[in-house]
Subunit: 395 residues, 2 copies
């Protein structure tokens, strides 16, 4: 149904994705796959909307197009965004919404049964924000066989990006470039953090006539903790004034039609302390080493080990992973939740895989982030955005 078409890829691209999903299902002996991850739903069908706060999913049955399943009122949104036709949409009545007596998964079980898709091996994503423990119990109760865990089966397929997907990520890269430029332009001691966040949103959203596009909402709000609070990576902003003598990291992403380009930088107001200068030196050198290792045929851990080796030289301990795959995403996370850039992860790097090389340091009394988003290529990585790779110092 082509009503709103700007969000969608070509039908051929969706058909290719479906074929790849069916092959993965066959390899695991799965007859019907149910995905509740909104990113997987969008990747498979084009579905887009802020409706993941109620139960919804896409069903890949043994034959035919994917089937969208969701709240009846959201079927209107599906009609406008998916590449399938109206008979491939199932809306459940509103009295299933947040009811303590009825569960949308009861309705799904009945609909699967109507289509004859209730038998055989049915896969669900057991580890997903949007498939609750109760949803699992309700669906299980309505179907004859035990459900099979297919967590991340589709997420893995999303790893290597198509040219059309990379194009979106480069556009997201343009947006994040503008966001960082705006921060450098606006930040100053005494500025209230909520005002800077308003500037960041402005730079992430507005239409640019030269580019011919504007921005979408990133899957995570801007994170910009200062001083000792920056030891805590996931605090959000307040309305206090920023102070001289403090470092602030900016963990933000540009987003274009749900595709993300995250990229972090650190700004010090006043004269940076030695700790910040040391962190910058170690991170920049470590990033060079990591980027050197980011090429087709190497492993995820190769990037991480190269980076960690440099940190070690500088006596810096980072006890968390140093990156994750990125692309199409909905809140609460812009990662794909498959491989990680960490020692022990022996995932082979392929052409077109995209990562946030997350070289952030969160220490006892400070935080420091200079990161890049990259696409893996035959001869090395492409940086998806071009933001000066250094700590910014401003008085």
């Amino acid at each position: 149904m082509a009503i709103v078409d700007t969000f969608r890829f070509t039908d051929a691209e969706y058909e290719t994705r479906l074929t790849r999903v069916r092959a993965a299902m066959e390899a695991r002996g799965i007859d019907t796959l149910i995905t509740s991850d909104p990113s997987n739903m969008a990747w498979l069908t084009g579905y887009d909307g802020w409706s993941f706060y109620v139960h919804q999913c896409v069903i890949v049955g043994p034959t035919g197009a994917p089937v969208w399943f969701g709240r009846e009122q959201d079927a209107q949104g599906a009609l406008r965004t998916v590449y399938m036709n109206e008979p491939d949409l199932i809306g459940y009545p509103d009295y299933f919404v947040q009811s303590s007596e009825r569960h949308p998964m009861d309705y799904l079980a009945a609909k699967l049964t109507e289509r004859g898709w209730h038998t055989g091996r049915i896969g669900v994503e057991m580890e997903n924000y949007w498939f609750s423990a109760k949803g699992f119990q309700s669906l299980s109760a309505g179907l004859p066989n035990d459900l099979i865990d297919v967590t991340n089966v589709i997420n893995w397929l999303r790893g290597p990006k198509s040219p059309a997907e990379l194009d979106r990520m480069r556009k997201a890269g343009k947006i994040v470039e503008r966001m960082h430029a705006r921060i450098v332009e606006k930040i100053e001691p005494g500025m209230r953090k909520c005002d800077l966040v308003a500037d960041i949103y402005d730079a992430s959203l507005r239409y640019d006539a030269d580019w011919g596009f504007g921005g979408d909402y990133p899957a995570i709000v801007p994170l910009l903790p200062s001083g000792a609070d920056a030891a805590a990576p996931h605090l959000t902003w307040d309305d206090k004034k920023m102070a001289t003598g403090e470092g602030t990291f900016f963990e933000i992403a540009g987003c274009f039609r749900r595709y993300h380009c995250p990229l972090s930088r650190t700004i010090f107001l006043g004269t940076p302390t030695q700790k910040f200068i040391d962190a910058e030196k170690a991170v920049l050198e470590g990033m060079e080493a990591g980027l050197e290792a980011a090429k087709v045929g190497n492993l995820c851990e190769d990037i991480a080990i190269a980076f960690f080796n440099v940190l070690q030289k500088y006596d810096i301990v980072k006890d968390n992973r140093t990156g994750y795959p990125i692309g199409l995403s909905y809140p609460p996370d812009w990662g794909e939740r498959t491989c990680s850039l960490r020692p022990g992860d022996r995932t082979v790097l392929k052409e077109g895989m995209t990562f946030h090389f997350m070289t952030g340091l969160w220490m006892q009394d400070m935080g420091f982030e200079i990161t890049e988003s990259i696409a893996i290529g035959e001869n090395g990585p492409e940086c998806l955005a071009n933001v000066p790779r250094k700590m910014v110092v401003k008085d």
Copy 2:
């Protein structure tokens, strides 16, 4: 631990909340309650951060303060936001994050066992975005007894707001007033929707010297579909130009320190069609009837029935609920997910309960929203924001 204190309520308020939770546990014979809902976690402890994309929870054991459980790096954020002390925080190592071999709930089971909280009746929220089917399986496997479903037990306690909470919601009301005023000021035919969204964010965030505060991020991004797309309630924006002859509804919320005041209005560019004029008349009259019924001692359904009766008079069918409780929230939803304003919901209205009276109409080829957020009082409702209650027409 008082490092960042702006977000927190008084310790006494948290103690009162804990006492109420323990009473609810006792009534259900629950020895230990585990809540994964970030809103419940914040309400119980003050914890605030964008970390709900990994497993975390607050544990209310048989005795003592609540215990925060989350990723080790987020314990730094907990230290800065919760009212408890450091021994009441448990951080799990990073190799539990998004691993296919280890699950944070394995670690939680071990920690409960260490504290002797692994026996007895343990409650978990089976229907929650952040407690996955896999998390349920992992935790179950690590504990001797079957887990008990305590979905919404805390959410129900959050229903009636304290004076300090109402104060935050009124501040959120100020913010949403400014957001709507900005929309009316800025909107015009030919304006790109992403640019209007930038203006909306600006109005939702900036510090106001008269108020003495700035804004926080709402749990849902602005929804502002136009024309026939407004039949779909949850489409997000694009970068196209807005056109004369189309109606657009704005479903937005002000947010102050995680407390929300949602409020929707509809704007028509050009001369409104009869359908819009009719919808406005029916909704405004229906709202008056509904607000009349919104008082202590009445039932949730009384508000809905009063509203639906008026719609019926105008031959308008609305086949979804007409409101839900609101307050403290994190994405993906600013509702509390307990009662609903719909026929059949016989929840008794109490002083200080707060609702989004969601009188939106989504029809075949248009959408229309004029809504209010209200606090229930002895003699009727308090509207938490003051935005002219009418359709705005602009050329």
